[in-house]
């Protein structure tokens, strides 16, 4: 998770995952290049990039900088999904509608796998996107509702650190906690 490519000169690969946006918006919209930990470069509209508090303060600290902004803690896969979320959010900034926004957020979450959600959380945290972090934290909490203890452990990759004696006690104490849950 902490692996990073510190040296920006190493990269040559440029990806444009957001071509459809590039064509439908004004040519004049300023783009910003953001480079992920696995050396992918994303060309992102300035308005979207400014949703990332970390990137925003990068430019505030060095306004004249035109270089590619390195995001050493951000892998490409979750980052592309984070961009997807922020593009939607911007629409609601211009036209606030809480009901629609909630609907859009829950649509966004619904399409994601468990792995997607857990991978996006550190990215949203690093980029300081508070709305997304709230949505993800809640989504993760909702995903484990009505699930078994085993399911929750494998969801997060948590090791069972109870001794077998302690487990036996827990089972006795919560005999019913192993019933009434959805199948894994």
């Amino acid at each position: 998770m902490s692996s990073s490519a510190e040296n920006p000169t190493l990269t040559t690969e440029i990806t444009k995952p957001s071509t459809e946006i590039a064509t439908e918006t004004a040519q004049s919209a300023k783009k910003i290049n953001l480079k992920t930990s696995d050396d992918q470069i994303f060309e992102v509209e300035e308005s979207v990039a400014m949703e990332f508090a970390t990137v925003k303060s990068f430019f505030e600290d060095a306004p004249s900088s035109t270089d590619t902004v390195p995001l050493p803690n951000v892998p490409a896969k979750p980052f592309s999904q984070v961009i997807e979320f922020c593009k939607e959010q911007i629409k609601f900034k211009a036209n606030p509608d809480e009901t629609e926004k909630k609907k859009s957020n829950s649509e966004f979450v619904k399409e994601k796998t468990n792995e997607d959600l857990v991978e996006m959380i550190p990215v949203a945290n690093y980029l300081e996107i508070k709305d997304l972090l709230d949505v993800l934290n809640q989504a993760v909490a909702d995903r484990i509702q009505n699930r078994s203890v085993e399911y929750v452990r494998s969801f997060f990759g948590i090791d069972n650190d109870f001794t077998s004696e302690e487990e036996a006690l827990l089972r006795e104490e919560h005999a019913w906690a192993f019933e009434d849950v959805d199948e894994d």
């Binding site: 998770m1 857990v118 959380i121 550190p122 945290n125 972090l133 934290n137 809640q138 993760v140 909490a141 909702d142 484990i144 509702q145 009505n146 699930r147 078994s148 203890v149 929750v152 452990r153 997060f156 990759g157 948590i158 090791d159 069972n160 650190d161 109870f162 827990l170 104490e173 919560h174 019913w176 906690a177 849950v181």
Partner: protein, 339 residues
């Protein structure tokens, strides 16, 4: 120390746990040792409350209707009571497992109140022998278990009870000889200790307790020598205060009326009777305030089926609740609990 959630910073992992629905707590507390410690901590409860992740639920002492398939004849004994939970956010109903020593029904007329997301049952009468009890039971939603608390220091029935800052206050009622009481005690649920409070200005049998701001109010009731002559006065106390503040004419109702379970508090703090305000619940009224709204149950005439409602204030908008047969029984009393 093991990470709370592998790959996530501690504070973020904590934010995920705080957002767990309370029904997930019993499973989550068995995932690993750290989760268990956190989920059972007081701090966790207050973090959930502060973040707005707790649910305001009405916890009701409700008659459990007979099992279908048993004989059609009416039960010879009195109604059996259980604890029902109505979650006003999700609209769901649930019934809590019975107290282990009372598998066939709660002590009659027991008091229920809550403390920091736990339920506290106090006193009542033995359902078989009709003897007054001083027992205290505490229900933990995290583990879904009842545990026994320290018994009430005096024998007491039909008293007022409520929570201030997690501490349970009991006051008034009557002793085993039907003498009305003016004594009051406070119970620290976490430390499992009782301490005596100053005495009220007068005896108050069959009084009702309610918390308004930082004060615990004891409303109406009657003295030993005026059985059933409900008083118009009330008195209040704050934790740590050395005396009660008495207010005459606080309980202004058209006739001398018992305040138990039907007491409502208006936005400006005035006291009123739900039985008098809403004709649909004028018989067997029970009102439980849940934030802005109040859960109401009762019927319009003696012997008619129970109706269940959510109302916004004394004269506000209201909504009739559709309730499954299991939860249609008479509600004797209730309290709000934030779980």
């Amino acid at each position: 120390m093991a990470e709370l959630i592998p790959g996530l910073p501690e504070e973020i992992a904590f934010e995920c746990l705080v957002r767990l629905h309370y029904t997930t707590h019993r499973v989550a507390s068995q995932v690993c040792k750290r989760w268990r410690l956190i989920l059972q901590s007081k701090d966790f409860y207050y973090q959930r409350k502060e973040g707005g992740f707790t649910h305001k639920a009405a916890c009701l002492i409700q008659a459990v209707l007979g099992q279908t398939g048993s004989s059609q004849t009416k039960p010879a004994g009195p109604l059996k009571y259980g604890v029902s939970i109505f979650d006003s956010v999700s609209g769901s109903w649930d019934r809590i497992d019975p107290v282990p020593v009372y598998p066939d029904g709660l002590p009659l007329f027991c008091q229920v109140t809550s403390s920091e997301g736990k339920l506290v049952l106090l006193g009542g009468w033995d359902p078989v022998k009709y003897e007054p009890l001083s027992q205290v039971f505490v229900y933990e939603f995290t583990t879904r278990r009842w545990k026994r608390g320290k018994e009430m220091p005096e024998n007491r029935s039909f008293f007022a009870a409520g929570e201030l800052n997690g501490q349970i206050i009991i006051s008034g009622g009557h002793d085993e000889n039907k003498n009305a009481l003016r004594t009051a005690w406070v119970y620290d649920v976490t430390r499992d200790e009782w301490a005596e409070l100053p005495q009220m200005s007068q005896e108050r049998d069959e009084c009702e307790g309610v918390v308004i701001g930082s004060e615990f109010w004891v409303v109406s009731g009657y003295r030993t020598d005026s059985q059933g002559g409900f008083e118009g006065s009330a008195e209040s106390i704050e934790l740590g205060a050395s005396k009660w503040n008495r207010v005459d004419d606080a309980w202004k109702v058209s006739q001398e009326q018992c305040p138990r379970s039907s007491l409502g508090v208006g936005r400006d703090g005035h006291l009123f009777s739900w039985a008098e305000s809403v004709s649909e619940v004028k018989v067997g009224t029970c009102g439980v305030q849940l934030g802005e709204r109040t859960f109401l149950s009762g019927s319009d005439y003696e012997g008619r089926p129970q109706g269940f409602f959510l109302v916004n204030g004394q004269n506000g908008k209201w909504e009739k609740l559709e309730v499954a047969d299991d939860f249609c029984g008479f509600v004797q009393s209730g309290c709000s609990v934030e779980i």
